[in-house]
Subunit: 370 residues, 3 copies
């Protein structure tokens, strides 16, 4: 190092001395903000993150036979979370401020403690979390390609419940298996239980190409013996296939469930296929068996078009139809303004197979995830 650098170095110190300093009593800390806040010690011992998401939607739904014709400007999801870790233990506490689907302000979404001391191959998560079932379900609502998940995923995938899960991943595979309280957190009894598991494998996985295979299974017991017509057990599985090559991505899931009562068994199934093209050339990120949100490469943002077709038994509630055998098609356009902001449009149209009832929905969303 040359002597001539010394004055510069001292000038730098002088500048820092005019502003107040920020230091720690212990390990060095890295701080960052992109609208939220992250702090992590340089030695990896501890971290904390404050974040959340706001999704404002305009939607217009029309169902021709049921005389449904409504418009709404409403919050779709508003959540805050605090997450962090200390030593081998981590936590996440995420709650709603507002939600359009029944959750009230203050209600918990993710709410768990995780042990990471066995390494990436075997984490243990205790608490309210997503059951390991379904590619589209496990992809965050911030990151899915269309504004709403397919009706078949909504019907078959269990979503969040309280439980204990063992999960891990290698370079191109993941697994998760857990025991959950099927009636959801808050129920007084643990007798409604579920065992749920999922495995994924990516035989091809590079920066711009992915082949993803996955399968999930859940078996759910309802401990009710009074009414013979009541569901006593549900067994469901799914199969997942996804492909990414450069700006193109596609994914498909098949679901099959068998509901048992004392007097009969009911079998149902459904599937969706989806394809997307990122016009600005970015590649849809894939990590640990799920997809992430498109990250624009340039300041101008990224544009994406998405198509989805689904068919089978489902609750087509977005387009105003009931739980029926039917089919639905969706077209979406997304603009990713930056890493945190997404504007999306989607048009969905559905039809019941037996009655021929039809419905459609136009939806626009402004999303800030931090």
């Amino acid at each position: 190092m040359k002597k001539t650098l010394l004055p510069l170095a001292i000038a730098a110190i002088a500048t820092t001395a005019q502003a107040g300093t920020v230091t720690t009593d212990g390990a060095d800390i890295k701080l960052s903000t992109k609208g939220g806040l992250k702090a992590a010690t340089a030695d990896g011992e501890a971290s904390v993150q404050l974040g959340g998401r706001i999704q404002w939607d305009y939607d217009a739904t029309e169902a021709r036979d049921d005389n449904i014709d409504r418009e709404d400007l409403d919050i779709r999801r508003a959540r805050l979370f605090v997450a962090g870790h200390y030593g081998d233990w981590a936590y996440k506490a995420q709650f709603n401020i507002a939600e359009s689907d029944g959750a009230e302000g203050g209600d918990a979404e993710d709410l768990y403690v995780r042990y990471t001391g066995f390494g990436k191959l075997a984490n243990i998560t205790v608490g309210k979390q997503k059951e390991p079932f379904g590619l589209e379900e496990l992809t965050s609502s911030k990151d899915i390609s269309l504004l709403e998940r397919s009706a078949v995923t909504e019907l078959y995938a269990p979503g969040r419940n309280g439980g204990i899960q063992v999960h891990g991943n290698g370079a191109n595979w993941t697994y998760g298996v857990g025991f959950f309280e099927a009636g959801g957190d808050g129920s007084d009894d643990f007798s409604d239980t579920a065992m749920t598991g999922r495995v994924t494998f990516a035989p091809v996985k590079s920066d711009d190409m992915v082949v993803h295979l996955g399968a999930s299974y859940t078996t759910r017991d309802a401990d009710i013996d009074s009414d013979p017509a009541t569901t006593e057990e549900i067994d469901a599985y799914n199969l997942e296939l996804a492909l990414v090559t450069g700006p193109f991505h596609a994914q498909a899931e098949y679901f099959d469930a068998e509901e048992s009562t004392e007097i009969a068994d009911v079998d149902s199934d459904g599937y969706y296929v989806q394809a997307g093209w990122i016009l600005t050339g970015e590649t849809r990120p894939y990590k640990d068996g799920i997809f992430k949100r498109v990250k624009p490469a340039a300041d101008k943002g990224a544009w994406e078009v998405v198509l989805r077709y689904e068919s089978g038994f489902a609750q087509y509630s977005d387009v105003g139809l009931n739980t029926v055998e039917g089919e639905q098609a969706a077209l979406g356009v997304n603009y990713y303004a930056n890493e945190n902001v997404r504007l999306g449009l989607s048009y969905m149209s559905g039809e019941e197979d037996v009655t021929g009832s039809e419905g459609d929905e136009f939806r626009a969303r402004l999303q800030f995830a931090f």
Copy 2:
């Protein structure tokens, strides 16, 4: 720079080395706390803020004819918020922990995403926010001069609703105009709608003198055609005048509304005038068409006395009266202990014009805003 500074410089480095360092992986960050937390990148690209307010009130209300005589020690408002921005996009998520006026823990107050890319002349805010109507309404409940807003403001100003607003400001003027869901966020349908706008102009605006003029207008449609006595439309406007000169400040608003049903139109109006004197000599801050909280100049804090008189059609609920033609006077004393803490006392007395019923309220508040 002299060589003799070197040992000092190195000593400074040594000190910093004993404490852990705090750095970032990207842009430089400025951090600050005055009980809340702010972090902002030096390049202006991103920021985050964690803040809130706690207001604890003792109030004693007596309404002579209705035999109301109650005392209460209760939280008036307790809110937390996270706000931030990244690039041209900003957000605010503010929620109640407790509130005395019906909101429950977890309920949203501000909950919006804002686009700032067009500059200060045209911001676009989407989400739950205050409709641009009324000087006293738009001045934060942390910053109003008396502990409670006038009854006429409470009746005529729409307050927070979900919607989309375009707003901006120049050196001494502001405007805002938006389209809102009149029934409030959470209603299933968008058919109750409002258009609301406000303009303000300050022909005089210096550090210790302000003349403020403002006007707001709102038109609100209720899409209900079953009951002919139901309100179908409300049109309301207000006019604002405010003056600041040194430690003195005064403001007045006039409100006028016309409610239409199928069978009749009802016109009503009301006004308040308010004057305040900051005994310790500070000037009430004014910025972008609204007032801010008095900031004490000395460690001893700042003292203020405030008077308000109002008359007209309003819901005089603080003093135990109904929605009637009436009048109310209020006297307040405030002590601003520091930038964040305010102690306030107010006495309000009201009377119904027709029945002559009278009521009064004494209120004391301890407020910490961070």
Copy 3:
């Protein structure tokens, strides 16, 4: 200082220059994270803290006569808080995300503003806070030795209410006395009031030895005169004794209450005794009249066994019994994995004195406090 240190010093500057800097516009700030976040100015003028707790419980309860036999995996407590201070004023806003005992997401726990300008001898706290009554009640639910407090504490100690308290402490003594709204925050009227006070004294207090004496008293008025059988007044007191010597700790409390109605007075009492041994040799921390959580000395964590016996009038709800004269014994094992994480097991068994009904509970907890 030797010249040879210069290149090192400059190298340190160079490294810091590659990473972004974190500075302040005002006073120096110390930042720290152990899963939560703390920032405090070096001059002591301001601070902010973001923290919380997550407690996930598995519990199995069996009550032999009532045919209760239930298992549950449920959140016991999930809370977030923001606390801070600026100048002589401090605040804390803590709210539930979920709770098993009736509180809903978003509901307030601690919610107060505190004046600290008179020094440690006389703080004034206004808002929702724990009334100063009972050693076990005032010890945080994160820090108590068994997973649940004794049934007698749960019955006799008032817990959190809105009010105003004066409290302080010296080197080995504390006091607190306050006026509270007995019906809890949120009630419309202030007529149900309580006066509550507590004093503690530690004649012996060193790093590994403590003798603690305490006494509390509360008198509570219910302003209801309609029903002569309704409780009109409750007066209760408690006496506390606690001992710590090295890894051993013990505590006992006696409670006595008199409930008055127009037609009769009812007197009841109860007590518990508890003893614990920290197998790994740490000493249970004691500060300002209450106990804190065991802090493991080594990376392997700390182990503790605890026994408790209680007898008297109480609501033995954890083991499925009613509010009765009875007795209950509890055995617990705790593993403190690090400063923030605690795993605990407890077994409780209770019996009603008159009917001889019996119940027991097994409980396991995973706790992350940050």
